[in-house]
């Protein structure tokens, strides 16, 4: 029908080929790099020490020389699992509080996309971890899985409270020391004042030079009242 001039079409076709080739190459390279980057993102949480302890207790290697692995008491394993649950509670609380903040910051452009990816991965990992802990708990004691996180939560809350208390109590000694010093300083100041007053009251009857004092003519009866007032104050301070 048509006599196609293949030669003439060669150039446009080559152009199209180059164009699509560029796009395809770019997109594959870009995707591969993206995937590589997200695969190499640092984990959100550090190594899970408690889980590692629990797992190593569970799969104790037999010691050299002996055939059987040492027997771990049940209570130790249970305690290790509880510790693991407590750490999980800490992490889950961290994730829950961070989630809203992280997503709003991401929308505003205040944090990067990779942080959000890391965050989502951590969230997923935590879900798996929780399920794992529940299964382990049920395997150790039937029905424990339902309540293990409740007790873990209590333990975590208690620990937070105790840490805070310890922190406050740690300050007690230095505060006490400071106060002793301060009280001593105040005391000596008062004593000095007292001495001054008594000196003045001694000197006043003989010489009328009260300096800039606004009470040069003082009836003797009122003089003792000042020191006593002072000592009362001192007592109040103590």
């Amino acid at each position: 029908m048509f006599d196609i001039n293949w030669r003439g079409l060669l150039l446009p076709l080559a152009y199209l080929a180059v164009l699509t080739g560029t796009f395809v190459t770019f997109s594959t390279v870009y995707r591969r790099r993206k995937a590589f980057q997200s695969a190499n993102l640092a984990p959100w949480f550090g190594p899970h020490l408690q889980r590692n302890i629990y797992l190593s207790l569970l799969h104790m290697e037999p010691e050299e020389g002996s055939e059987k692995a040492p027997k771990i008491p049940d209570s130790v394993i249970r305690a290790a699992l509880l510790r693991r649950a407590v750490e999980d509670i800490n992490r889950i609380i961290q994730i829950r509080t961070a989630k809203a903040a992280c997503s709003s910051l991401l929308q505003r452009g205040s944090v990067g996309d990779d942080l959000w990816q890391r965050f989502q991965r951590a969230e997923k990992e935590m879900e798996d971890e929780l399920r794992d802990v529940v299964m382990e708990a049920n395997a150790l004691v039937p029905g424990w899985g339902q309540i293990i996180f409740q007790s873990a939560n209590e333990i975590a809350a208690n620990k937070v409270l105790r840490d805070r208390l310890d922190e406050i109590e740690a300050q007690a000694d230095s505060e006490k020391e400071w106060w002793e010093k301060r009280r001593a300083a105040i005391q000596t100041e008062f004593m000095k004042e007292l001495d001054n007053e008594s000196e003045k009251s001694h000197s006043r009857p003989t010489t009328s030079s009260g300096g800039g004092d606004d009470e040069p003519v003082l009836v003797d009866g009122s003089t003792p009242s000042t020191p006593s007032g002072g000592s009362k104050k001192k007592k109040g301070k103590k």
Binding site: A98, C102, S104, L105, V111, G112, D114, W178, R182
Partner: protein, 707 residues
């Protein structure tokens, strides 16, 4: 008539084209360059002081360096090239003769004036034709003339004569400017012929593909990745991510400083072996015993542990230097000294990102820590140190002399409130300040912009009650009263009012600024109130150690003290509507400033007690914290009140709202009545009027300790 497009062969058009094109590009670039190179800090007032510390020159070099960094080399280059090209084009335009298309003028040809009569024309023609008729004239060999030239000249002369005498030819001349009638025109393209000539085509294509295939994608790509690289707060995205990880609900100022040291900016600052050089020296200095704090750097035990837990590297060095900076510790090493002053501005920039992060969590404590950290960074003070160290020449020894062994630090306001003789006797002496230093310190203290809140209340524009979910405006009225100011004028009660613009005043309602007319001059032109339409900035922060010029900002926000949550996120004010300083740049005006912040009222009616914070990001201890109560009325109750008013309106003699209220309440002055609805919200329980007794909670009372 020819309508062929011709390219610019003589080269007289394309210079115009290139000139215009270059002008379009160069002018905006030049504008940007000029705007950038003008020092933005120069337009700000400054706090007047001659104080110089030992390292003022390092700080100044760093400040200058930062300003230079703003100027981009490529921009300067592009602008220079642009102007050179334009100049060259102008020269070309001047020098190339455009092919002359002189207007055909018969009078010139005949050598007569345009007012000549017909007779004169004829005689001139006759004279010329006698002289130039080809039969008569001989070609002048000296002028290189030929017979054709003579003919052409004669034709012109007779054409000119006809144009002035013959009716038809004259019409042609008038209509088309030529006695022969309409002339053909040509369109020229202002591109040099060289572009389309054979052989050059491939270069043009090459240039084209380079522009659109390489340069354009490169520019778009670098712009896009540039935006991805930096967060909204202008710090590196990776730093911002790290800061997010460092956030803790109970973080304190020291913790914030520690978090800021994770910034990726420091990785770039301390590349390679810079990360470790001198680190041990810095650490030994900051962990030595301090004069005011247990450790010289002002670190708490927790901060010390954090520093020691870090692996040595850029972060550890940055943190150590930050503590050295905050503790104002002498490092005796020019390189380390310089690094010490360089880390603080970076930390301050990072802190903006941290503020945004803590704001996303909406917890009060971290947000406040972040603001306090900013103050500390700008003033170079460690956490929990005396605010007095902000004043020039104040040393730990001086502070000790003021504080005694009290645990609560005297802040600048308290110190300056004491009588001059008393504070002088405290700080002037051997090992303390000299008289001159004392005067300098007091003069700076008397310039610190302390925003003293006079009143804070809520209102809804145009309403008397605050209804659920309505748009509430928090109005904060306050004055800049520098510490130790004398003769502070009384507050004008009228200044405390916030009067709604009239309902028909659209400009004011829509927030458009209108210059207030205050009179007319002798020629009847209106005189406008000076400065009423421009906002006034506070003086740049007096921060002799901070290697940037910083314009102080005030953040106003409401928190819920029971839950420790931020209720209304911060509104930031850097500029104010009334002048802060008199023309001499030193005396405060004590003008009442109005800060307004709008937010949505809670959806339920009730009394909401908030703690209002006014935090300045540049000075330590000049913050205000007070309680304000927001009363949200039920919609039905408000409608009831409205009903009462409606009823009253029907009474004939009452024509103004104020009058109605007056009758309804049977009480005092009109002015008072009008505001009553609003005032009861704040005044009743919060006792917001601070001005009188200066009872802001930040003014920690040291009185009892002194007894």
């Amino acid at each position: 008539m020819s309508t062929d497009y011709t390219y610019d062969e003589e080269g007289y058009l394309w210079p115009f084209f290139v000139f215009t094109l270059t002008l379009i590009i160069t002018l905006p670039l030049t504008y940007i360059l000029v705007k950038r190179s003008r020092d933005p800090a120069a337009s700000f007032p400054r706090i007047q002081t001659n104080f110089k510390h030992k390292h003022t020159d390092i700080v100044n070099t760093l400040r200058k360096k930062e300003k230079r960094k703003d100027r981009k080399l490529w921009l300067i280059l592009a602008v220079a090239i642009g102007w050179v090209v334009m100049g060259y084009m102008l020269v070309l335009i001047q020098n190339t003769e455009a092919p002359s298309q002189k207007l055909w003028n018969p009078y010139d040809i005949l050598g007569i004036s345009e007012s000549s009569t017909e007779k004169q024309i004829k005689s001139a023609y006759r004279k010329l034709s006698l002289k130039f008729h080809p039969d008569k004239a001989k070609p002048d060999a000296a002028k290189n003339e030929t017979m054709d030239d003579l003919n052409a000249r004669y034709v012109e002369i007779s054409k000119a004569h006809q144009a002035l005498t013959d009716e038809e030819v004259r019409n042609n001349y008038i209509q088309y400017g030529n006695p022969d009638g309409k002339q053909g025109y040509s369109i020229n393209i202002a591109l040099p012929k060289a572009i389309v000539s054979d052989g050059n085509g491939k270069y043009v294509v090459l240039l084209y593909s380079a522009l659109f295939g390489i340069l354009l994608p490169y520019l778009v790509g670098s712009w896009w990745y540039g935006t991805l690289r930096r967060s909204k707060e202008g710090v590196l995205m990776e730093s911002s991510n790290r800061l997010f990880r460092e956030y803790k609900d109970n973080i304190d100022e020291g913790g914030v400083i520690g978090a800021l040291s994770t910034g990726q900016e420091y990785d770039e600052l301390f590349k390679g072996d810079k990360a470790d050089s001198g680190l041990s020296k810095v650490e030994s200095r900051i962990l030595a015993e301090g004069k005011l704090s247990p450790l010289a750097g002002g670190l708490s035990v927790k901060d010390k542990e954090k520093l020691e837990d870090l692996e040595s590297g850029p972060q550890r060095k940055a943190l150590a230097l930050l503590w050295a900076y905050l503790g104002r510790i002498e490092l005796d090493d020019p390189v380390l000294e310089k690094a010490k002053f360089a880390v603080a501005p970076i930390a301050e920039a990072l802190n903006k990102s941290f503020t945004a992060i803590s704001l996303a969590y909406m917890n009060t404590a971290p947000l406040l820590s972040s603001y306090y950290a900013s103050q500390l960074l700008i003033q170079a003070l460690p956490p929990k140190s005396s605010p007095l160290l902000q004043l020039p020449h104040f040393t730990p020894a001086t502070v000790k002399a003021v504080d005694g062994d009290s645990k609560v630090h005297t802040n600048v306001q308290d110190f300056m409130d004491r009588p001059d003789a008393k504070r002088r006797s405290l700080v002037v002496g051997k090992g303390l300040l000299t008289d001159e230093q004392y005067r300098e310190a007091v003069s700076v203290a008397k310039q610190l912009p302390f925003f003293r809140v006079a009143k804070a209340f809520f209102k809804v524009t145009g309403e008397r009650f605050i209804l659920p979910s309505s748009l509430v405006t928090l109005v904060v009225k306050g004055r800049f009263v520098p510490p130790g100011s004398e003769n502070v004028p009384e507050i004008e009660p009228l200044d405390l009012e916030d009067i709604d613009p009239a309902e028909d005043d659209l400009d004011a309602l829509l927030g458009r600024k209108v210059k207030k007319q205050i009179g007319k001059d002798e020629k009847g032109r209106p005189i406008y109130e000076a400065g009423s339409d421009e906002l006034i900035s506070a003086p740049l922060a007096a921060s002799p150690y901070f290697a940037r010029d910083h314009s102080p900002r005030w953040h106003v926000f409401l928190t819920d003290s029971k839950q420790g949550r931020v209720a209304v996120p911060p509104f930031t004010f850097a500029q104010f509507d009334r002048p802060i300083l008199e023309a001499d740049g030193k005396t405060p005006t004590f003008a009442m400033q109005t800060l307004k912040a709008q937010f949505q009222a809670p959806p339920q009616a009730g009394h909401y007690t908030f703690v209002m914070h006014v935090v300045c990001d540049s000075y330590v201890g000049l913050d205000t914290k007070m309680e304000v109560t927001l009363i949200v009325e039920e919609a039905s109750k408000a409608a009831e009140m409205e009903q009462v008013v409606e009823d009253e309106i029907s009474e004939p003699e009452e024509d103004s709202l104020a009058g109605i209220m007056h009758v309804a309440k049977g009480g005092s002055s009109k002015e008072l009545k009008k505001r009553e609805a609003k005032e009861e919200e704040s005044d009743d329980e919060s006792g917001t009027d601070l001005e009188g007794d200066d009872a802001s909670e930040t003014n920690t009372d040291t009185e009892e300790e002194d007894n």
